[in-house]
Each structure stands twice: as structure tokens, then as C-alpha cells.
């Protein structure tokens, strides 16, 4: 009856140091968080950090290259544009616009989409039909074209862009949240709340909403990248943030003529910023999705 000793093998104990190290550098996506933190820092302290006024240029100082190229100076670290405005200062203030538009639009879309998704999924019937047919219609329209159309109607301004992006992207949330609610509402604890005499609104607020917040957060992080690109695209096309303001997409649009004659810094820097921020948002979203999804299924 004795079991050979080599059959039972306990896993080797990890040293405390290793365990801590793994949590620090493996558990959290350090790079995306770092990128977003730097951009957020720039956005918050733009006034203190930017060396020049982002909207006023000196025409005599047009098309200065970055400081390491011949003709560049440390006065304008990343060069100047066609109106003599400092590219670095514009990038720093641009971070503020991208951050504000990105986050508020995602929150706005998330709020509308989550509320409609919960109501649609829980109440069912004609409410569900109405919301879902609306969602189908919305999703059938190409998002960017639809956004351009709306922007052309309400006119360009930063807050209009927020509302437009919210209005375009709420459907993504509504779809996913509704699906989640359909399975939640069959769970026993929801039934118990029903037989305990809770009203539909109480159940939606107290029992359904807290159970879909995780999903909404993951979705929001993944949508952040989409929304930032959408804002940059609208600005690039001239229906987004209006010109004197330093939006990254606008800088790309202004710099595109210069690209052919060698003024590469006007497009590469804002383009790189957009890419970095979207990359960071997507990496963070992917990590959150993996992190939160299995737990959701276990609950």
C-alpha cells in the first residue's frame, strides 16, 4: 500500500524574491501604463512643460528642423512648422486634446451604451426590439463616414467631437452589455430579487449593473484606441478640432505638404504620438480582457 516516494512530488517552492518580481513585471502591463501615464502627465502640466505658445508662431523661424539636424537649434527641440510654431509645444498640448476627447467620448459612449444595453436586455419585448434594431442600423453605417456627416451638421469644436464620437460608438457597448444581461437575468440571484419584491429598476441598478461593470471597463479600454484614431481622423479631414488648436490629427494634416520636400518632423512626430497612445490603450485593454474575463465566467 505504500506509495513510491518519487510519485508524490510537491512543486518546488518559489523564492519570495522571485514571486514579488513576477508580480511586479509580469502581472501588470508596465509599458502601456507607462506610456499612458507620461501622456497624461504631459496633458495635465502642458502649461508648465511646453517651452513655447502652441498657437502663436514666429514666421521668421519657419521650418526649423529638430535640434540634431543641420540648421536645428535647441530653442526648438523638435523643430517648427510652416507658421513657425514649436512642434514640441504643439505635441504637448495635443496630448491634452487627445486625452480629454478620448476619455470623455469613451465614458459618454459607455454610459449611453451600458444603460441602453441593460434596459434592452432586461426588459426585453418591444424595448429590446427598438434598441437592437437601432443598433443594427447604427452598425450598418460606416463609423467614420457617419461621424463626418454628424460633424458637418453640428460644426467643428472639441466638445462636439466628444458628443459625435459618443453617439457613433455607444452601439458597441449596447450589443455586448445586452448579451451579458440576457444571461445574468436568468441567474438565481436575480430571481430571488424578483420574488423578494424588488422592482425592475431596483434589480437593474443593484443586481445587473454591478455585474456588467467589468465588461464595460474592458470594452472602454479597447474603445479608447478606436476613439483616439477617430478623433485624429476627423481633425485630419478638417471636421474635427478647429485649426489653431494643436490636435495631433490637425498637425498631420498641416504637415502633409511638407513631407514631399523633406520636412518629415511635421508628420512623423504627431503620427508617432498617435501610434504610441493607441498601442498603449490596446495593450492595456487586451491585458484587462484576459485578466477580467475568466473571473467573470467563474462567478
Amino acid at each position: 500500500m505504500s506509495i513510491p516516494a518519487d510519485v508524490i512530488r510537491l512543486p518546488a517552492r518559489e523564492s519570495r524574491f522571485l514571486a514579488i518580481r513576477r508580480i511586479r513585471f509580469g502581472e501588470y502591463p508596465v509599458i502601456p501604463i507607462l506610456i499612458l501615464a507620461v501622456i497624461a502627465f504631459l496633458a495635465v502640466f502642458a502649461n508648465q512643460l511646453a517651452p513655447h505658445d502652441p498657437e502663436v508662431g514666429i514666421l521668421s523661424a519657419r521650418f526649423h528642423p529638430p535640434f540634431w539636424q543641420a540648421g536645428g537649434s535647441t530653442e526648438y527641440l523638435l523643430g517648427t512648422d510652416q507658421l513657425g510654431r514649436d512642434v514640441l509645444s504643439r505635441l504637448i498640448f495635443g496630448a491634452r486634446i487627445s486625452m480629454v476627447v478620448g476619455f470623455t467620448a469613451v465614458i459618454f459612449a459607455g454610459f449611453v451604451g451600458t444603460v441602453l444595453g441593460i434596459v434592452s436586455g432586461y426588459l426585453g419585448g418591444w424595448v429590446d426590439q427598438l434598441v437592437m434594431r437601432l443598433t443594427d442600423t447604427w452598425l450598418a453605417l460606416p463609423a467614420l463616414t457617419f461621424a463626418i456627416f454628424l460633424a458637418a451638421i453640428v460644426g467643428p469644436s472639441m466638445w462636439n467631437i466628444v458628443i459625435i464620437l459618443g453617439a457613433v460608438y455607444w452601439t458597441r457597448y449596447a450589443r455586448v452589455i445586452r448579451g451579458e444581461v440576457l444571461s445574468l437575468k436568468e441567474r438565481e440571484f436575480v430571481r430571488l430579487a424578483i420574488v423578494a419584491g424588488c422592482s425592475k429598476w431596483t434589480i437593474m441598478r443593484r443586481h445587473i449593473l454591478p455585474n456588467v461593470v467589468n465588461t464595460a471597463i474592458v470594452l472602454g479600454t479597447l474603445m479608447l484606441g478606436v476613439v483616439i484614431v477617430a478623433e485624429a481622423s476627423l481633425s485630419f479631414l478638417g471636421v474635427g478640432v478647429p485649426p489653431p488648436e494643436p490636435a495631433w490629427g490637425l498637425m498631420l494634416a498641416d504637415g502633409k505638404e511638407g513631407l514631399m520636400v523633406g520636412y518629415w518632423w511635421l508628420t512623423v512626430f504627431p503620427g508617432g504620438c498617435i501610434m504610441l497612445m493607441v498601442l498603449a490603450a490596446n495593450l492595456l485593454g487586451d491585458w484587462l480582457r484576459v485578466k477580467l474575463d475568466p473571473q467573470l465566467r467563474q462567478l
Binding site: G124, G125, R187, E188, F189, R191, L192, A193, I194, V195, A196, G197, C198, S199, T202, R206, H207, P210, N211, L299
Partner: protein, 339 residues
Amino acid sequence: MTAAPLLELDNLSTHYVSAQGTRVIRAVDEVSLRVNAGETLGIVGESGSGKSTLALTLLRVLPPAARIVGGRMMFEGEDLVTKSDAEMQEIRGKRIAMILQDPMASLNPLFTIGNQVAEPIRVHEGVSRSTAWRRARELLKAVRIPSPETRVRQYPHEMSGGMRQRIVGAIGISCEPRLLIADEPTTSLDLTIQAQYLNLLRDLQREHGLALIFITHNLGIVAKMCDQLAVMYAGRVIEAGPVSRIFNAPAHPYTMALLNSIPRMGDPDQRLTAIEGQPPNLAALPPGCSFAPRCPQVMPRCRDAAPPAFTPEEGRIARCWLAEPVAAGTDLRVASGAA
């Protein structure tokens, strides 16, 4: 039989109707029952016999396809069938509470125990948060949860199955209902915990004087817990009356067969007796008695006409031609014997 019963069902019928209205499933059909205050009514029957639909009908929380098509539900002198949805919401959890089939999954994983026990109290009585929480702690004590002070702040996953079950029981009695409906509350528990829980329910019932409707398919639990018994078959109550008298002298062949299928201890040679055949399709019931195709004592007239509810003795009913008052019954047997 002097005071009016707490709950009196009179010819209550709930049918499931398909979307086109072509298929009708008589899940609950002409059910008449009464429950007195402080009494326990056991409802037994096979899966699909309409027990759970009956429970859902009592609280008017039926799925969209189901309709109450007739009858009355008199609860404390008011007819629940005619109540508005808002009025029913007031009654649910406050005057009639329910413990669900799977209490293990009945707790929301995201909220503390205290929050969930306090919820019906806050919904129905509009008391302050602190008062509701104090009541929640008392309730946990009442259902014998050790150290309720710390337990109220814990989450469902920190509790054992038996504890979660008792917490669901605490939620059930939180607003001191007059009637508690327990729909197979012990199916997911092992036997020792089951026995503890049943004792607890009985004690709670005695202390609070509440009436209990106990839905189960375990006749042992019925014998232990219930005063009255109703046996359901194919949506109908085919026999009802005091537990002891039904157990001693069942009037309906289905009840007899059910009682015979309980294994007895101490007889190794005994074979389990099963009831032949399958429960009927509720969408296409036979014209006569729905048990006739499986009945060992079937008579020709059983296949032609469904028996009405006879009264074999005071306080009992049986839907079987065998229970027909003696004079008519003998005639029939003579006639069929001569044929």
C-alpha cells in the same frame, strides 16, 4: 375549519400558450387547495407535474408565455389574480416569500451577506440602512449563523453551502411573511445538512407562525415536515388531505404507487417498485383521467371521462372514480363485472 384559510386556491389554472396560440400546455389545471395559518402544505409530484409553475403562479412571477387562465387565489381575503403588478410587488417578499430551487446560486456574488439580507427590508419597509443591517444581524442569528457580526460583512463565496442556504432562508423570513413557499430547497444539499435545514425551517415556522408550502418530490421530507399533502399529476391535484391519513390510506392509485416506490430499510430482498410508463404529454392529454394509461386499476370509464374531485372523507379530496361515493361505485363494479 372554523377560521378562513390563509390561502385558498379555487379552480386555479395556468397554461403555457405558444406564440401562435396553437399549442396549449395545461401546467396547472383547476387546482383547488387551502393553507391555514401556521400550517405546512407539502406538494409532491413528478418532474413536470406543475409544482413549480404553481409556486410561480402564487407570486405572479410567471414567464411571459404563461397565463393564469382562470380561478381565484384568495390570500388573506384578497384575490391575488386580480391584483395589479405594483400591488403584487408589494406582496412579494413582504407577505409571501419564496425560497428558490437552487439557493446555492441565489446570492449575488458581488454584495455582502448583510446587504442582501437587508435588501427586502429596505425595499418593503423603507427603514434606514443601519436599522436594516441590525435586523439582518438578528436574522442571521435566528438562522443559526455563527458570529453574525462578522458574517454580515462577508461575501457569498466565503460561506459553505449549508450557510448560504440558511442565509437564503433568512432573506425569505426577513419581512416576516405570512406564507413562505419553499421550492425544493434541499435538493442541492447532502443529507445531514438537509436534516439540519429542515429542522431550522420547522423551528422558524413555529416561532413566526408562518404557513409553509413545501414543494418536493421526497415523500420522506413530506412525512417529516408537512401537515397537509397535495399530490400533483399532469397539472392537477389528484389527491389532497392530511398527511397521516393519505399515508395510511391513499385513495388514488397514483399516490399508492408513489408510496410503494419508497425503498424500505431492513428488507434486503425487496425490489424497488416503479410506476410503469411515462407522465403524459401536457400538450396532448388523454380525454379521460390523465393517469389512466399507467393506472394498475384502470376501468373502462376512466378513459372516457376525467373524474371530478370526490371527497372520500372529511377534509380530503381525490380525483379518481374509485373514490366515488359507495352507492354509485358498487353499481359500476357490478355492471362491469357482469359485462
